[in-house]
């Protein structure tokens, strides 16, 4: 059964490739739709529409944006007209600043209807109403002047003032006031410089905390996420005594929404307990955090297992001489010792069509993707640990230390996402993953089925075809794991042809069909996969599946041909990867090379495969995105005024970006190198497997000939395929004549001549039951 590992690894990689490439764009669109449905603001609706329309040429328009270095205007709140006078007022500092107000109180501007009044109140130092822990998202006075200059979407330039302490020093007071009004005027650059100045000036010591906070905010608004994050972290490091501590925790969340890779920020955020977000964001926060916790839990386990797998593969192929093995196979020697590759008797666990097999259908002999039994007890969750019961305010703790902890926390957060939230389906999906990780497969299946139900286009509460599809895919895989191949095939069949997961589903479904003995459909799926349209997709294992099917069908000559083809083609690929992985080059260089290859648009088959392999890796993609984002920040910086760039703040920002650049480049390289390393060994495993198939083929052929000499009639006699043109009422029949119709891709089947047990009719021995 250990040879399964090769398949498995390959499959998982291939699958991950297809799967992880999951496109966020659809979700964006989906969200945009939801958004427009949920808001009353015509502007917002219009924007959502625009965004949708831009969908296909997003790259272009975004490039434009990047070039001008603009951040995009926030959705204008419905109260836009009302906001205008406020902005005007804010320009002139209030003459009579601040009657002492209760310190540390935050004004909750979330009530958009009253925001103008509230604002006036603040500006005139009037009594602010206490807002325990409330975050000021309120559609405050974002005066979106022509839409050119931008605030963010959730912080509408609110000014939370705590003037009390400033009364005495009126010059400083006024200057600080002015800086604050710059914020509300969206003159973030000037404001940032001012706040940075205050931090160095002891005269402003009293407002340092506020200046720190405002500085972080202004940097955020300027688009310097890394620097902003650094500043917020400083506040968090100062601890709960910092007046803006609570808010800074919340800001982590908002920064995470903008980051190309949110994980590090969420990691920070996950350390906090008792964070109380406003209702509008609560579900998202819970969802995001549980997602992060899942990633953590997954990393704890998967990383370990992957490493083990890699080590095992390494060990296996170490000292395994491909050349010698191949020669041995060529020369027909059955004596070559494959033990280095592990595994004994070759049993692919194929379906029951095999004459020799004659296995009971329910009993399966091996799992190509074997989950094994549900790993009950592998992790004991016991009773959930009591929640940290800190009365108020976020409390910083360590993140989860192990998978168990992470899963427990994740499930908790997930369960708090309300069913009417737009994050509900996502949360349910996540719940499935967490349950699965915990070994509670049935619970996982239930959760995913709930996703499917909630997202049913007919009568479902929401639409998110992508997510629904992932639920289907997950369901398919779980059922496959439990050897319920019919169900698995059914779920795979639900994957839409337009989905990026479609090929993955086709490929995995071909395993399902094969395992249930339906060679016709398995080979049909492979025909699609191997059609000229998808030539460059990276599904190396699919060739092996095909070879194995031919082997099991007693069509040895063809099995050998396929195997040879596979070995030929992928030895080249393997050597290329080997070169990359073993070149001793830094990860960055490998990464650069791949990036170059991609932009070169090489026609070379091997290169194309490599690029496709690398780019389909979600981790690589994310790290690329991160790099791009940082580079954009650098561009943004170079477009700032001379004054800003040469200022201390400018220098600091530059440093922070540069630091991030180096770190991320390294990370991207490392991710790439690792990916290739993993892929290399997986591929080596597959090649080893191919050789074994070849050997088995040779053995079977020899036995066959020997049998014939002895006069055995049965044996591997191939039963001719009976053409079946009749299909049920819900299907059409089209013979394949070399012509590819787009709508036929994925629906191919073969009438296939193969060996069958004597007396077993065609249909029973693996027909499609038509």
């Amino acid at each position: 059964m250990s040879q399964r590992n090769y398949f498995l690894t390959g499959a998982v990689v291939a699958m991950a490739a297809g799967f992880m490439a999951h496109d966020a764009r659809a979700e964006r669109t989906g969200t945009a739709t939801t958004l427009s449905a949920e808001t009353d603001s015509p502007t917002l609706v219009a924007q959502a529409k625009t965004k949708k329309a831009k969908g296909t040429k997003a790259g272009k328009s975004k490039k434009g944006k990047a070039a001008t270095g603009q951040t995009t205007p926030p959705p204008a709140p419905a109260s836009k007209p009302a906001a205008a006078p406020a902005a005007a007022t804010a320009k002139t500092p209030p003459a009579q600043p601040a009657a002492p107000a209760a310190p540390s109180q935050v004004l909750d501007l979330s009530d958009t209807k009253n925001d103008e009044a509230a604002r006036q109140e603040v500006l005139s130092g009037g009594a602010a109403k206490p807002a325990a822990g409330g975050f000021d998202f309120g559609g405050g006075a974002t005066d979106n002047k022509g839409g050119s200059k931008a605030g963010s979407d959730f912080d509408f330039g609110e000014v939370e003032l705590d003037m009390g302490k400033l009364q005495t020093a009126s010059v400083e007071n006024q200057r600080f006031e002015k800086a604050l009004s710059m914020m509300s005027d969206e003159k973030f650059e000037a404001a940032a410089l001012e706040f940075r100045y205050f931090l160095d000036d002891p005269k402003f010591a009293e407002v340092h905390p506020e200046a720190q906070y405002q500085l972080a905010k202004s940097l955020y608004k300027l688009g310097f996420l890394e620097s902003s994050l650094d500043r917020f972290k400083q506040i968090l490091d100062a601890g709960p005594s910092h007046r803006r501590y609570k808010k800074s925790v919340e800001w982590l969340f908002f920064i995470s929404r903008k980051m190309a890779d949110e994980t590090p920020v969420l990691a920070e955020l996950a350390k906090f307990r008792n964070v109380n977000f406003p209702k509008a964001y609560r579900n998202e926060y819970r969802y995001l955090l549980s997602k992060y916790l899942f990633i953590q839990a997954n990393r704890f386990e998967v990383a370990r297992v992957q490493e083990e797998e890699l080590q095992r593969n390494k060990k296996r192929v170490q000292g395994f001489d491909f050349g010698a093995a191949q020669n041995a196979v060529e020369s027909g020697a059955a004596s070559f010792d494959f033990s280095a590759l592990g595994g004994g008797e070759l049993d692919f666990g194929g379906g029951d069509a095999k004459g020799k097999g004659a296995k009971a259908p329910a009993k399966d002999s091996g799992g190509s993707f074997d989950f094994g039994a549900p790993s009950g007890g592998a992790m004991d969750f016991g009773a959930p640990a009591p929640d940290p019961t800190v009365a108020d305010g976020p409390v910083r703790e360590g993140g989860p230390a192990n998978a168990k902890e992470a899963i427990r926390q994740g499930l908790e957060f997930v369960s708090e996402v309300e069913p009417d939230s737009k994050f509900y389906a996502n949360a349910k999906y996540l719940e499935g993953l967490l349950q699965y990780l915990a070994g509670a497969d049935q619970a996982a299946v239930n959760a995913w089925q709930e996703v499917v139900r909630v997202l049913n286009p007919r009568g479902g509460a929401r639409l998110d075809p992508k997510l629904r599809e992932m639920a289907f895919l997950s369901l398919a895989r779980v059922h496959y794991g439990y050897k319920q191949f019919d169900r698995a095939a059914y779920y795979y069949d639900q994957i839409d042809r337009d989905s990026e997961n479609w090929l993955t589903a086709l490929f995995e479904a071909s395993w399902s069909y094969y395992r249930r003995g339906d060679f016709e459909k398995a080979l049909g799926n492979l025909l699609t996969l191997h059609s000229p349209f998808f030539e460059r997709e990276y599904f190396p294992e699919s060739q092996l599946v095909k070879a194995i099917i031919y082997f099991e069908a007693c069509r040895y000559g063809e099995a050998r041909q396929i195997t040879d083809g596979f070995i030929d083609r992928y030895t080249t690929v393997m050597n290329e990867i080997d070169k990359l992985a073993a070149s001793g080059e830094s990860g960055e260089k490998i990464y650069d090379r791949i990036a170059q290859l991609q932009s070169g648009g090489s026609d070379d088959d091997v290169t194309a495969r490599l690029v496709s392999l690398a780019l389909s890796d979600p981790e690589i993609r994310t790290s690329r995105a991160v790099l791009t984002q940082v580079n954009e920040q650098q561009t943004q910086l170079s477009k700032m005024s001379e004054q800003f760039r040469t200022s201390k703040l400018g220098e600091e920002t530059k440093d922070s970006i540069a630091k991030a650049q180096i770190a991320h480049a390294k990370e991207a390289g490392e991710v790439t190198r690792k990916k290739f390393e993993r892929e290399l060994y997986a591929l080596k495993g597959l090649l080893g497997q191919a050789l074994r198939v070849k050997l088995e083929v040779a053995r079977a052929e020899r036995e066959n000939i020997e049998g014939k000499i002895r006069g055995d009639a049965g044996g591997d006699k191939i039963v001719p395929a009976v053409p079946r043109t009749v299909v049920d009422d819900e299907h059409h029949y089209w013979p394949y004549e070399g012509e590819y119709w787009r709508d036929e891709l994925g629906t191919y089947e073969l009438d296939f001549s193969m060996c069958r047990p004597e007396g077993v009719p065609v249909a029973a021995a693996g027909g499609t039951g038509q």
Binding site: R257, N298, V302
Partner: protein, 237 residues
């Protein structure tokens, strides 16, 4: 243990998913663009229909081939004659969709008296009618398809529209004629097809030169059935 490896695959959505949160953020920031650039091979986010043409490696190709079309036809709405048409044509296929061709035809007509009432009786008069016609035309085939007969036989076909102009010789004189036709080829093998078309010829004719109301624009509808022979090698697409 399998479980966790397997799980690696599940997590895909998580990686890309963060963009969800950014959805309502107009500034889709860097990642979206990067994502697009880095798109999974060449088909990131595109539907199958956007990536793949409807039909590739067509069983029947026409590009660069010459089509010879003998046909017979009959008129559908000539009130005074039964017309039989003998037709021949040559067309050159510039590509799979466009061809140019010439066509000539000869009409054999027998008079058919109208059934009349109110006196007069059904006398036979010598109504005018076409004798021959020749034309140049452009043929456009936007449709390529296949049809399955009783789930057994599959025929490939194309549907074309042709527009042309030429001269039509009448019993008495002649006229410039415009023509438009719609038709189909049913491909029988790689050099032969069955061809049907419905053709409208528009020309000016004095139906009854002996004393009718004079020249009128005529719309003469004919139905033609013929064969199409394709010369030249079928070129792979």
């Amino acid at each position: 243990m399998r479980t966790f490896i397997w799980l690696a695959a599940f997590t895909g959505f998580l990686v890309a998913d963060h963009a969800y949160a950014q959805a309502d953020d107009e500034n889709l920031s860097a990642d979206a663009e990067a994502e697009q650039k880095a798109g999974k091979s060449e088909h990131h986010g595109r539907t199958l229909a956007e990536r793949i043409p409807s039909v590739t490696r067509r069983v029947f190709t026409k590009k660069g081939r010459v089509e010879l079309t003998p046909a017979v036809g009959l008129s559908l709405d000539d009130p005074f004659h039964n017309d039989y048409i003998f037709q021949g044509g040559v067309a050159y296929h510039i590509n799979e969709s466009f061809a140019v061709g010439v066509q000539g035809e000869y009409w054999v007509s027998s008079s058919s008296a109208p059934d009349v009432s109110g006196g007069g009786g059904g006398g036979t008069l010598d109504f005018n009618h076409p004798i021959f016609a020749g034309r140049l035309e452009v043929i456009w085939s936007p449709i390529y398809g296949k049809v399955n007969l009783f789930a057994e036989e599959v025929f490939h076909f194309d549907t074309f529209i042709s527009v042309g102009a030429g001269y039509i010789g009448l019993d008495t004189d002649g006229s410039v004629a415009g023509t438009i036709a719609i038709g189909q080829h049913y491909f029988l093998n790689d050099w032969l097809a069955l061809r049907v078309d419905l053709r409208d010829q528009i020309f000016s004719m004095d139906v009854n030169p002996a004393g009718g109301p004079g020249k009128h624009v005529q719309n003469l509808l004919t139905f033609n059935l013929g064969l199409a022979f394709y010369a030249g090698d079928a070129s792979p697409e």
